[in-house]
């Protein structure tokens, strides 16, 4: 079929904020889809609430809407843009669900919009368990025995037939939320309860257990003419029972014979045909480890995290091709962009091994249950490529950035090791290696873990090599062998008691091989490389100026897709300047690791060793370290040192590494601030009570103390006396080597400010002065903020500009810097200076219509801000609110209180002409819709009561019913507000807040935390329940003020949708330049 001429405008729906189960992969797929469609002359309209994405760049699509992902807002965009078709498969489960809802609600039909690519029936068959089961039965494909249940009764009945253990899955959820394995009737009650609550259609599936079977995935594509191909198969090292997102995965499958593989491949093709998918599809199989029989487990009729991995693992751009299929192209009409010669209708052949390892957030949530299972807890993943399994595996381990270079020893008893092998956590691979070191039989380990013995044997090879390295003389041959097996130089140095530099000198050089989709059979032009230790490399010389950008590695809490956004902007800027852009990164989900973004891509770990290897290979003119978050900035000093020692002509571009050190070293920075006469809120950190007591005395009471980890619902606290401090340290804080207590001077009623600025050594360009809508002390990544600042006086703003200018000068900033400030009264205090891109850069860039990372890159290449026409500060007429999104629903039991440790996984942006409208959109987009009717619940501490009064009055005027605890209610009533008193939870009387929340009466909670014990427990339970029930929870008076404005404005009139391009057109002239 020829390309459909009737689709002139297509809408692509994004996946919204980064959450557990939906990370950067959908920015990658959505961006590919947009580019792919525009190549075919289709006008593309993109909708996504997440500003930290490349797809929301005004350059990616013809009209970019950063609007909440709800069907109401999507309909507004449809009405305005009149697309002929909509792509549902590029924005993960979020987009798929939205598109089903749009269809169900008749909106698509009303506006004459067709679902492009995979049709509704296929989506439903893939998602609805019953439909799926009957479809599989009709084509003779085996599935586990199962039954859908909408209540406890039928779930129980079925388990009586199939016996325990039984799997329970919730229908229509992200990444397995609300699923689990029931080993007992008690388990069953609990998991079914969760599942029914999480499922969009209030349905769970109870299923025969295939626990311990091997798990394989097939990525399959089909076009409208029924041509089908498999792109890749993947083998999960972890067995069935562990979500594929939580599993270590290798590609291609290693333990399938050709007959096994073709059996599954043929099944996969039958399934995609039966589903009628037009585009990409992921199919999961369970294979019995002894009999070889298989079951079809799951089908995802869309691009997914697995398809992103498969694309990166093979070089085959699945989303890009799926988008073309969606507009009617056949696989044999689409050229293979990798070879340029062959067509998209072929199956990639790999000549390397790919390993993916998930990155878990347990370092940020020490109290959470670390066991891994059927629901996803990981926030991101790394991928590594090698010519042996060992090489790819160890490269992946060191890409994780979890302070482990390899399979380090585990200090645990044998019993603990056995438990870990049986009930895996994120630590399993280290325990397997440790068990082998202690002489556990490989068969026993295989039996405990349900890993295929093949992989245990590979780990054993590594452990044996490790002991040979420890025991014998260091020979060049042995080092070469170790490098071929993936050992890091630093590990080798430790094992052989020598220096990393010494190892580097005596080992062979890395060679770089190409990822070409075809096993070397055809000449390819992909600029996509990985290192290995073989004799022959194949990187052609790049001519002209070239710059290496070091990426940000796996998505984790505190370092998300924002940094990948900055890296990609850097790449774009380099290419605009005619400079070859080389990127090094190891995150398979991202846009930066899409091979046609940069001039050259190195898929590599990002340790000093790996970056130096690339520099030796490419000899770039410069290296940019300020875009990749801590991953790259931490390399600044050691890399500067290494380059100096080598007399390398490669320069670290931008801010000098010494300044980075100056800004990061608390003491040096404090001295600088004193010298500059800039006020700084005194701050320090200590590891013991004595140390902290000394620090507090020096800073002067009251101080804000906060553990770097929050335990038992208690975060930061304002401490007025040494006695209070002792109490705090005893009850709430685990002080240890790893978890210091931070002590800050307390700035009461301060407003926190973030500034993102670009400097060139002479001038500065302030992208935005952002005002937090949360109290000071909350990690800036977790704070909602607004641009432009709303409550600051011109004098204060001028002070902020002055401080910014002076800091840029003192730190010799060339490129980006982020400043965190606190404003108390009219005094500006510096909290932190980060001489690098911050996580607010994409949000600010989208809000002002100027890519700050691009500007910074051009400055680093030697352009002056003056020549770019960007001196001063960006001015906008509209308002942009950033709201964080948290992973709490995925991490049962975790307290949701915010503090100095960042906990959010992603963010959304609301943009409109006023604060209220923008805030309303941001809250809605973050999944916390503000109510315009119903009831709210208020409980605030005494000092907040006067300020909360006008807020509550306004809410009451709109027509919201007010509930409050006794103290708050009394105060409100005395001031003429009609209010109903509810009991504290601890009072154990009805009505209490939790009951009202559960019954769906309360639609908004305003709770400023107090320190009395009962209130604290109430606070914890309320926050937790609010999270579980998606009820917006406001913890500051400032946020309450913004909320009331939002509710007023949204109930006053319709909220319009406006594309970013339009905001940019209407922005002041000087902002329009870049």
């Amino acid at each position: 079929m020829p390309k459909r001429g009737d689709v002139r405008t297509a809408m692509v729906v994004g996946s919204g904020p980064i959450v557990i189960g939906q990370a950067a992969e959908f920015d990658y797929s959505g961006t590919q889809a947009c580019r792919s469609l525009r190549e075919e002359g289709v006008r593309v309209v993109l909708v996504n609430s997440n500003p930290a994405t490349i797809q929301t760049d005004p350059e990616t699509a013809d009209a970019v809407y950063v609007e909440p992902l709800t069907i109401e807002f999507l309909e507004k965009v449809i009405a305005k843009e009149r697309p002929q078709g909509i792509l549902s498969g590029m924005g993960g489960q979020t987009a798929l669900n939205l598109c089903s809802e749009l269809a169900d609600a008749g909106i698509l039909q009303r506006h004459g919009v067709e679902l492009l690519g995979t049709k509704l029936e296929a989506i439903t068959a893939g998602e609805n368990r019953e439909r799926f089961a009957s479809l599989m039965r009709s084509i003779g494909e085996p599935i586990p025995r199962s039954r859908a249940a909408s209540d406890f009764e039928s779930a129980r009945g079925f388990v009586e037939e199939i016996g325990f253990p039984a799997i329970v899955r919730a229908a229509y959820t992200l990444g397995g939320a609300g699923s689990g394995v029931a080993h007992s009737p008690e388990d069953l009650e609990r998991i079914v309860g969760f599942g029914l609550a999480y499922s969009r259609i209030k349905q769970v599936l109870v299923e025969e257990s295939v626990l311990g079977w091997k798990e394989f995935e097939y990525e399959v594509m089909r076009d409208a003419s029924d041509n089908c191909i498999t792109i890749c198969n993947m083998e999960n090292l972890d067995p069935m029972g562990i979500h594929t997102g939580e599993s270590i995965v290798v590609a291609p499958a290693q333990t399938l014979s050709d007959t096994d593989h073709q059996t599954l491949r043929s099944a996969a093709l039958r399934i995609i045909r039966a589903l009628g998918v037009e585009g990409g599809c992921n199919i999961q199989f369970a294979v019995h480890p002894r009999t070889g029989e298989y079951r079809v487990i799951e089908v995802n009729p869309r691009v997914s995290r697995s398809s992103a991995l498969a694309s990166k693992a093979t070089g085959y751009p699945i989303a890009r091709i799926a988008a073309k299929i969606a507009i009617g192209l056949r696989l044999d009409e689409i050229p293979n962009p990798v070879t340029g010669k062959t067509l998209a209708s072929f199956e990639p052949a790999l000549d390397y091994v790919v390993t993916k390892i998930p990155r878990w957030p347990f370092d940020k949530f020490p109290t959470v249950d670390r066991r891994i299972g059927t629901s996803m807890k990981s926030t991101g993943e790394v991928m590594a490529i090698g010519r042996t399994f060992e090489e790819s595996f160890l490269k992946a381990v060191r890409s994780l950035e979890i302070d482990r270079l390899g399979l380090d020893s585990v200090p645990a008893t044998d019993d603990e090791i056995v438990r870990e092998l049986k009930e895996p956590t994120s630590e399993r691979i280290f325990s397997i290696a440790e068990a082998l070191r202690r002489g556990f039989a490989p068969e026993k380990i295989a039996a405990l873990t349900d890993w295929d013995p093949f992989f245990i044997e590979k780990i054993r090879h590594l452990v044996r090599l490790e002991s040979r390295l420890r025991g014998s003389r260091r020979t060049r041959a042995l080092l070469a062998e170790a490098k071929r097996s993936g050992f890091a130089d630093e590990s080798l140095a430790a094992l052989t008691r020598s220096s990393e530099e010494g190892i580097r000198r005596s080992r062979p050089r890395a060679a770089y091989k190409m990822v070409d989709t075809c096993g070397g059979e055809f000449e390819a032009r992909t600029p996509y490389f990985y290192s290995t230790y073989e004799a022959t490399g194949e990187t052609p010389r790049l001519r002209g100026r070239k710059v290496l950008i070091v990426g940000s590695g796996p998505v984790r809490i505190g370092q998300g897709v924002e940094f990948d956004y900055c890296c990609v902007q850097g790449i774009f800027a380099l290419r605009e300047e005619g400079v070859a852009a080389i990127i090094a990164n190891n995150n398979p989900e991202t846009v930066s690791t899409d091979f046609d973004i940069s001039t050259r891509l190195y898929f590599e770990p990002l340790l000093l060793e790996d970056v130096l290897n690339i520099i030796e290979e490419e000899k770039p003119d410069g290296v940019i370290l300020q875009f990749g978050g801590q991953t790259s900035i931490n390399l600044a000093l050691p890399l500067a040192h290494a380059l100096r020692r080598r007399r390398s002509r490669t320069r670290i571009l931008g801010t000098p590494p010494a300044s980075i050190d100056l800004a990061e070293d608390r003491r040096k920075f404090a001295a600088l601030m004193r010298r500059l006469g800039i006020r700084q809120a005194d701050a320090a950190s200590g590891y013991s009570f004595d140390e902290v007591r000394g620090l507090a005395a020096r800073i002067g009471y009251p101080v804000l103390v906060r553990p770097s980890y929050v335990l038992g619902g208690r975060g930061m606290e304002i401490v007025y006396t040494e006695e209070d401090l002792a109490g705090f340290m005893e009850t709430a804080v685990r002080v240890s080597k790893d978890h210091p207590v931070l002590v800050d001077r307390y700035l009461a009623h301060a407003t926190e400010i973030d500034v993102d600025v670009v400097a060139d050594g002479r001038d500065i360009f302030i992208g935005g002065i952002q005002e937090h809508i949360e109290e000071a002390g909350i990690h800036s990544g977790d704070a909602a903020c607004v641009l432009p600042a709303q409550t600051l006086s011109e004098a204060v703003l001028e002070d902020i500009r002055t401080v910014t200018r002076r800091l840029c000068k003192a730190l010799h900033i060339a490129g980006l810097m982020n400043l965190q400030l606190a404003v108390q009264g009219d005094v500006v205090y510096v909290l932190e200076a980060n001489p690098r891109a911050s996580r607010t850069v994409p949000y600010v860039s989208k809000a002002i219509g100027i890519s700050l990372a691009k500007v910074a890159t051009k400055v680093m290449l030697g352009h002056s801000l003056r020549s770019l026409g960007l001196v001063g500060e960006a001015k906008i007429k509209h308002v942009a609110v950033k709201a964080p999104v948290f992973p709490f629903q995925r991490l049962p039991g975790v307290d949701t209180i915010l503090g100095p440790e960042m906990k959010s996984t992603g963010e959304v942006m609301g943009i409109d002409r006023s604060l209220g409208r923008a805030y309303y959109k941001a809250m809605l987009a973050a999944g916390n819709p503000l109510p315009t009717q119903g009831a709210i619940y208020v409980t605030v501490r005494d000092e907040d009561k006067p300020t909360i009064l006008p807020v509550v009055e306004r809410l009451a005027r709109i027509g919201l019913r007010i509930f409050a605890t006794r103290g708050t209610a009394q105060f409100l009533r005395e001031n003429g507000v009609d209010v109903t008193t509810v009991y504290r939870i601890s009072e154990n009387e009805s009505p209490d807040a939790l009951g009202l929340m559960r019954r769906g009466e309360i639609r908004l909670v305003i709770n400023t935390p107090t320190n009395s014990t009962g209130a604290r427990r109430d606070g914890y339970m309320m926050r937790r329940l609010a999270v579980d029930l998606n009820i917006p929870f406001i913890a500051t008076v400032q946020a309450a003020g913004a909320a009331v404005q939002a509710i007023e404005e949204s109930s006053a009139g319709d909220l319009a949708v406006v594309p970013l391009q339009e905001y940019r057109r209407t922005a002041p002239k000087k902002a329009a330049k870049l």
Binding site: D226, P252, Q262, S345, T388, F454, E534
Partner: protein, 360 residues
């Protein structure tokens, strides 16, 4: 034990020997299948060649004798990046090394197979030797250069059966398979529809027609289809069979058919060996992923267009992948519809052939 792979251009790559320890010669070819080494090693079409796998980890699932496509290992030598010493699979009977030893085939691991593949891709397939470390490399290189190319031999004669063999199948019909180096699965596929009689490559048309076949399959096999001894035997017989029985040509059989009708064949630079080759069926417009193993191809322009139409094309390089006689029930494919190794997408070729059988 150390050893080397020595190419005719003088390249010598060191590696570790496993399998048998002896010197062998052959044409070095690469295969891009990621699985299916047992099937490939026992495919008679590799006779006279040294087979190199581009996928680096080979032997992971051991060897299941059920997967053998002939009685023995066919290539003279085997080259891999890494051979798995401790395989894991419920059906594995022995390790790759033991399998190679049992069939006296030398093999080498540790080679930079990707670099070698790129060399072959750019320079074409080469004569090569696999030698234990005790050999003097320069002498070996000279030997490789001066040795006659294996294709100058009648390789088909070396792998074909000597006697007629019968394989009872389903149904009342009979298919004769001319064994030019046939893979077992061609016979197995045919057995699903008919009794199968396997005859040697040099069976005459009278021999074949004497068996009263409902159809004839010309099998795959090694070497140059235009070898004089093949032209005098198999090609001659094919010519005589045309019009008297339905014929399906597979791989070498496809080339024989072209030659029989006056077409010509030519040698590809480095051949097609793998399981991911896209082939377009020009009659349906459908694209199928195919399993392939061939070094020669049919020249499309040489085909008598009044008699034959090209039915299948390779989407990578546009070479002929299938043809059909315009009137007679005669057609052929260059790829392997029987798979093993490789995708099972093309069983339809056998079904199409069965539909043409005389008794159908």
């Amino acid at each position: 034990m150390e050893g080397s792979l020595v190419l005719e251009d003088g390249t010598a790559i060191r590696g570790a020997f496993f399998g048998a320890r002896r010197k062998v010669f052959g044409e070095l070819v690469f295969n891009t299948n990621m699985t299916g080494y047992t099937e490939a090693l026992t495919d008679p079409s590799y006779h006279g060649q040294i087979l190199m796998m581009t996928y680096p980890l080979i032997g992971n699932y051991g060897v299941d004798p059920e997967s053998m496509e002939s009685e023995t290992i066919q290539p003279t030598g085997f080259v891999v990046k890494e051979a798995c010493a401790v395989p894991s699979h419920p059906k594995s009977a022995l390790s790759l090394a033991d399998f190679l030893k049992a069939h006296e085939t030398p093999a080498m691991e540790g080679a930079d197979t990707r670099a070698l593949t790129i060399k072959i891709r750019s320079k074409g397939t080469m004569k090569a030797a696999l030698v234990p470390a005790t050999e003097h490399l320069e002498t070996v290189a000279r030997e490789v250069r001066t040795a006659p190319h294996p294709e100058t031999r009648n390789l088909v004669a070396e792998v074909s059966c000597r006697e007629v063999e019968r394989y009872p199948g389903v149904g009342k019909r009979t298919i004769v398979v001319v064994d030019c180096g046939v893979k077992r699965n061609i016979i197995r596929e045919a057995q699903r529809y008919a009794d199968v009689i396997r005859v040697p490559f040099n069976a005459t048309s009278d021999d074949i027609l004497g068996l009263k076949p409902d159809g004839v399959i010309l099998s795959n096999g090694p070497g140059d289809p235009a070898h004089p001894e093949i032209l005098a035997t198999s090609v001659k017989a094919t010519k005589e069979l045309a019009g008297r029985t339905p014929i399906l040509g597979i791989c070498l059989g496809h080339q024989l058919l072209a030659l029989a009708f006056g077409g010509t064949t030519f040698k590809l630079k480095f051949g097609h060996r793998g399981g991911n080759q896209p082939v377009k069926d020009l009659r349906t417009g459908r694209v199928h992923i195919t399993s392939q193993n061939h070094g020669f191809a049919v020249d499309a322009d040489s085909l008598p267009s009044s008699e034959f139409e090209v039915t299948h094309l390779n989407l990578n390089d546009g070479t002929v992948e299938g043809m059909a006689h315009r009137e007679l029930p005669i057609f052929s494919v260059q790829y392997h519809p029987e798979a093993r190794p490789g995708p099972w997408d093309n069983e339809y070729i056998f079904r199409d052939f069965v539909a043409e059988l005389k008794g159908a």
